[in-house]
Subunit: 255 residues, 4 copies
Amino acid sequence: MPRIDINCDLGEGFGIYKLGLDEQIYPLITSANIACGFHAGDPQVMRASVSLAVQHHVAIGAHPGTPDLIGFGRRGMELSAEELENALIYQMGALQAFAKAHGSRLSHVKPHGWLYNAAAEDLNLASTVVRAIQSASPDLVLFGLSGSQLIQAAKQASLPYAEEAFIDRTYQSDGTLTSRRSDQALITDPERATQQALDLVLRGRVQALNGSEVKIHADTLCVHGDNPNAVVLLTRGRNKLRKEGVEILPSGRRP
Amino acid sequence: MPRIDINCDLGEGFGIYKLGLDEQIYPLITSANIACGFHAGDPQVMRASVSLAVQHHVAIGAHPGTPDLIGFGRRGMELSAEELENALIYQMGALQAFAKAHGSRLSHVKPHGWLYNAAAEDLNLASTVVRAIQSASPDLVLFGLSGSQLIQAAKQASLPYAEEAFIDRTYQSDGTLTSRRSDQALITDPERATQQALDLVLRGRVQALNGSEVKIHADTLCVHGDNPNAVVLLTRGRNKLRKEGVEILPSGRRP
Amino acid sequence: MPRIDINCDLGEGFGIYKLGLDEQIYPLITSANIACGFHAGDPQVMRASVSLAVQHHVAIGAHPGTPDLIGFGRRGMELSAEELENALIYQMGALQAFAKAHGSRLSHVKPHGWLYNAAAEDLNLASTVVRAIQSASPDLVLFGLSGSQLIQAAKQASLPYAEEAFIDRTYQSDGTLTSRRSDQALITDPERATQQALDLVLRGRVQALNGSEVKIHADTLCVHGDNPNAVVLLTRGRNKLRKEGVEILPSGRRP
Amino acid sequence: MPRIDINCDLGEGFGIYKLGLDEQIYPLITSANIACGFHAGDPQVMRASVSLAVQHHVAIGAHPGTPDLIGFGRRGMELSAEELENALIYQMGALQAFAKAHGSRLSHVKPHGWLYNAAAEDLNLASTVVRAIQSASPDLVLFGLSGSQLIQAAKQASLPYAEEAFIDRTYQSDGTLTSRRSDQALITDPERATQQALDLVLRGRVQALNGSEVKIHADTLCVHGDNPNAVVLLTRGRNKLRKEGVEILPSGRRP
């Protein structure tokens, strides 16, 4: 029986600033990637996020980023391997403490923003991410772009991993994501997003923007919380997947 | 056989900024209170501190403060109980992750600066600190000013605690510390500090500034890392205590 | 001919976080109070705010706060007079540079959040605010709560000032604002807010929550940018005021 | 009569953290480059620095950096041109306000750390720096590495500039500075530093590490405040330069 995880980046508010429709999304996903206070999130937001995750039986994942609140962790930063490793350990530890306070624990880790993209292409950077996760806890599952250097680094270090694909992003014929700068990068049509989810889970393929088919292995599907149609898209996608006999379960430890 | 713990606030640098003589102090103490990145400390400093503590078999304690790097956590901040609790959980978790990465774990928690002083006098604030510690881990030992509301709150909640007294600070006849604003607040003469240590450990008393004797119970003795004579004072104090048959051991979990 | 200034707190976003309906509000006001990066605002937000102010011929004011981004400057902080003065000079200078870059300059200063409220009641704090403004530029106009210690301090130091009243907040019979904790604190009914504006400008009075009349002198009227009805309320209020022959002009230097 | 400016990076403390021997260096230099709160410095440190500069008749310069306190502005950051420009305007404005509060004003600007090095090699980055300075004030003098793209960009935009050379750093035969990673990068011998100062000012040349001579034009000489011999080196260098008839004066506006 085919199975898939559905994840979303959540807990991205800060102080009085709200971001995303977290309350509506938690009931629809199986894994939450929660910001840890460097690029977004603060102790209050983190605690509220963990509390929602526990309440909705959603696996709790750390979504650590660079120390760049103004840039939301999307800007490149020249961190040494040591600095990056320590920044990640710090953030995972902080979130783990909230998980523990709510009777749970971290299940997975997904690097955020620039770090996610850069480590997908750079094996050295990816290995530093993997090393940091293993320092924190060797049974955490790394979420990384399907087929990327992040997955490669996890394999090399025998760290559990989940290959991630996107329901609401278009792909190029070489299997990479269409750049966010393109106005074709996002899929907002729920029909098309649902089709992409089915293609990924049942056939291990997506249709690229140019019409060609690309092989993509997906253990977990990401939906963007700031996608205006995220709730519709998730609701419809889930129903369709279940109708096709797909089991929807976390990639990491079941909460 | 009498026993005592000797603690020091360490890991108070940040980025390129150095503070204190950490390397020289670790070999002389049994418990380290390590800053957690809010009022001082950064992920690199925290990791280096944990590494030194492990190397010297020193118990690792969190020394969390208010989010006030410019003010070094010494300025009052009107945090709600929820904000304070979350700030503490966050910081304890971050340090715990480094301890785990070095094969160890947190042993105790000592609030820093304004928080230490304010919670010593305010049972509500003290109870929030206690609640935060119990959320993080119920077997952590709280370090608080001897006889203060912090100790009271720990007793009420059945949280392990260690009553703290100071080797290098003078006391008033009512048992409070002489204010830092007074130029008689600090004891820099190693002879006098050593005598105060002995009085505290063997007789449960100190001589107040006005010559009277005050009863003070001490489970752990603090030396300030920024005291210019800290190393001399610690070396002499330890030798003298040992000569008197006092065992020097951590208050918390032995590392 | 009666005249009044209409001001609003703007530029309160940060990084990717948006707050308020700035674009819609600028055409309807005469003075903008722009956050300066400590409690809200960042260099991009500040520049965009100054640019909008210049475009809409709105007077540019600094809206400096405490260094408390997580708490949005609403939490009390124990800053020394020197620390507060320097924090204000720093923030006013930063905003002035953007004003200059757009061919304009600062016209006024309104302390934000906790500082606004605390200085309204504490003459010492108010005098520190006044001293900071005079260090930055002696012809800046201080915006402070009508009849408060801020106004008193400005008078004592011969600093130009504008007494501020609120269109969308209810008053107590002693002339103070109803606490935000009360659900009667905010006026969202445009009719009632417009009436309060007219009462303030034409009769120097408001009707308190208990029905009694209170004398309030207003040089400038504040509307909250996060009031969901701010745009409707401003549009209607302005029309009504103009119909009654009231001239709407900045309190400070005309832009 | 030959003339030269002597500058130093100062005001690099933060909160309780001290850095450099500022008090001893101010009497020996003609231009101070003062950190502006992003990579180092805080409002108190900035004010104290400006006060010292005014007292010693030293020209006040802004030394703005990236928003990277942990990394001291030495780590690369992928800022957009707009973000960089705004970060610089913000910081120059903040320092200018302190200069004004002490009856003075900014004379020059020297980018700090990574920004200084990166803009020395990248004309686009250099032009953004120049544009930011011109937005703040078109008569400010840019301090940039002699012969670098920063100087080129200033020339192109008709911004006043001062070409900078280093007394206490060694040069390569191609005129670049020896990398800090080399243990030959710093000159600590006062004799040799003094000779390099004379060679730069009187002959427009330095002897490179390999013995060859390189042409370097210097309008201003930099000494590093964290050089342990900075005070000796400055005292000796100044005396020698004066004995040779060199006038020591700021490159920018005389304070």
